[in-house]
């Protein structure tokens, strides 16, 4: 029975990984496609390959999840596969709900929320290492988008200032389109380093829980490989949906701005990954898009829109926690509980999928979250640059 459960949880975790890639292709590749830097087919292929490569580059974030958040080993608890199963279900169900309602959310935080909720039900509050949750999940969640926004703002100002010409001659800003090919590739790579590792962390936690791996060890090579493949496949498949229906929300992003935003996103995620901060790449990319919008002349922040995005982010962790806790409560009834959980989740996910098919996919509901965060900044069309000195 246990081996069956382990296989079930691994499949579920890989499904989560796949949807993550599926969901996030747009974060890296929507901008270069919209500004015409890359052909859509090429962009999606590059994103998939770099996600695959990125997944192999680091294991710090996976260690945070498998070894940090839940107290294991001496004086701690031994989490059971049932609870990991419940936590994953919580994350997947909450992800589907927010996807249906069009709420901005983060699959990473849904995952943490689900795991934390399930652990609290299984072992009580003391089993969670809240200092790790605070320092490696909650605070990075708040600080990373701000950091990325600040950096993108600075970079956008710089990019425009350096290329600005007051004599009306061509400024060569078209060349940022070439730059975007590289900067968006870096974002895809960074996405692989951070997001694929979350699934690796969960599978490692599972293997530790059934005693196949010592407490505190990092992910096995085969785990890294399957997670990398799952996220790359998801990215590739998800890309086609985006190409077909890419909205108009991004046309306001100029190549110079896109280049600055993407470089800032990639740098922030890569630096955070290196220190083991598990952050939401969606939130970082959104922060960069808003920051770089503010860096353009004649821009004004729509605080209402920005605020709504922020509230959606804050809700994710506790909400997924509640769903995870419910699933964990049912799972405490043993085999019957697991079966009930699986059936309920399948009905909910299937129902949501069928429900979503009823509504037509169009530009208004398919624009990625990152793209829609661009709407939080209002930019006047082509304001004249102020002359510094008359020559």
């Amino acid at each position: 029975m246990e081996i069956l459960l382990v296989v079930l949880v691994i499949v579920l975790a890989l499904f989560f990984d796949f949807t993550n890639g599926f969901h996030d292709t747009a974060n890296a590749m929507a901008t270069p496609i919209a500004t015409g830097a890359l052909k859509p087919k090429v962009a999606v292929t590059i994103a998939a390959i770099l996600n695959l490569v990125g997944a192999f580059l680091s294991t710090e974030v996976a260690r945070t999840i498998s070894g940090g958040i839940i107290k294991e080993g001496d004086g701690g608890i031994l989490i059971t596969p049932e609870l990991i199963f419940a936590g994953l279900l919580g994350a997947i169900v909450w992800n589907m709900i927010t996807w249906l309602l069009g709420l901005p959310s983060s699959s990473s935080h849904a995952l943490f929320g689900g795991l934390i909720g399930a652990t609290i039900v299984g072992f009580g509050v003391y089993a969670i290492d809240f200092s790790v949750v605070l320092s490696k999940v909650v605070l990075p969640a708040v600080l990373a988008p701000l950091t990325a926004g600040l950096i993108a703002y600075t970079a956008t100002k710089l990019a425009y200032a350096i290329t600005r010409r007051y004599d009306g001659k061509p400024d060569g800003r078209d060349g940022f389109r070439y730059g975007q090919i590289f900067s968006s590739s870096l974002v895809a790579l960074a996405h692989g380093t951070n997001d694929a590792q979350k699934t690796m962390g969960v599978i490692t936690l599972l293997l530790i829980s059934v005693g196949l791996q010592p407490v505190g060890s990092g992910p096995e090579f085969w785990v890294v490989t399957v997670c990398a493949v799952a996220i790359a496949l998801g990215t590739y498949v998800g890309g086609w949906r985006i190409i077909k229906t890419l909205g108009t929300g991004l046309t306001d992003i100029k190549p110079a701005q896109g280049f600055a935003a993407e470089t800032s996103t990639a740098a922030t995620i890569l630096a955070s990954t290196h220190l083991g901060f598990a952050l939401s790449t969606t939130q970082v990319a959104s922060g960069s898009v808003i920051g770089s919008g503010m860096g353009r002349r004649g821009s004004k922040v729509r605080w209402g829109t920005a605020g709504r995005i922020g509230v959606g982010w804050l809700l994710t962790l506790p909400s997924a926690g509640i769903v995870g806790a419910l699933a964990a409560f049912v799972a405490t009834f043993g085999v019957v509980g697991i079966i009930i959980d699986t059936i309920v989740a399948a009905v909910v996910v299937g129902g949501i999928f069928l429900w979503s098919r009823r509504s037509e996919v169009d530009a208004s509901n398919v624009v990625s979250e990152v793209a829609s965060s661009g709407r939080a900044v209002k930019i006047k069309k082509n304001p004249k640059p102020k002359k510094k000195v008359a020559p």
């Binding site: 496609i33 970079a155 710089l158 990019a159 010409r165 940022f176 280049f259």
Partner: protein
Amino acid sequence: MIDWLAFLLVLVSALIATVVVVSLYSLGLRLLTVSGRTPIVTPAEFTDAITVVTPAEAKAAAKKAAKAAKKSPLTDGQKRAALIGARACFVVSAIAVIVGIYLIVPVLHGFLN
């Protein structure tokens, strides 16, 4: 215990990396334009979403750039220097990216030692 220093480290290192890469790339573009080789990049493919540059606009931009290049007050030597400078900027900016990736990937450190 919260490691505030780590957050500061992320901010500072990401800021430095971004500023270096974006500044160098922008400077490269500026110098490229000065040297009379203004890059005109037409979108790779026209999907519905792209309204940034139409083919006619791109053609007009290319014409304008050629005109501006012809009127340039710089000597040929100065133009050549600007072009070399531009290329140097692009190369250094690419190296900065590669060094950044090298720094955060522990596996690569083994290969070089």
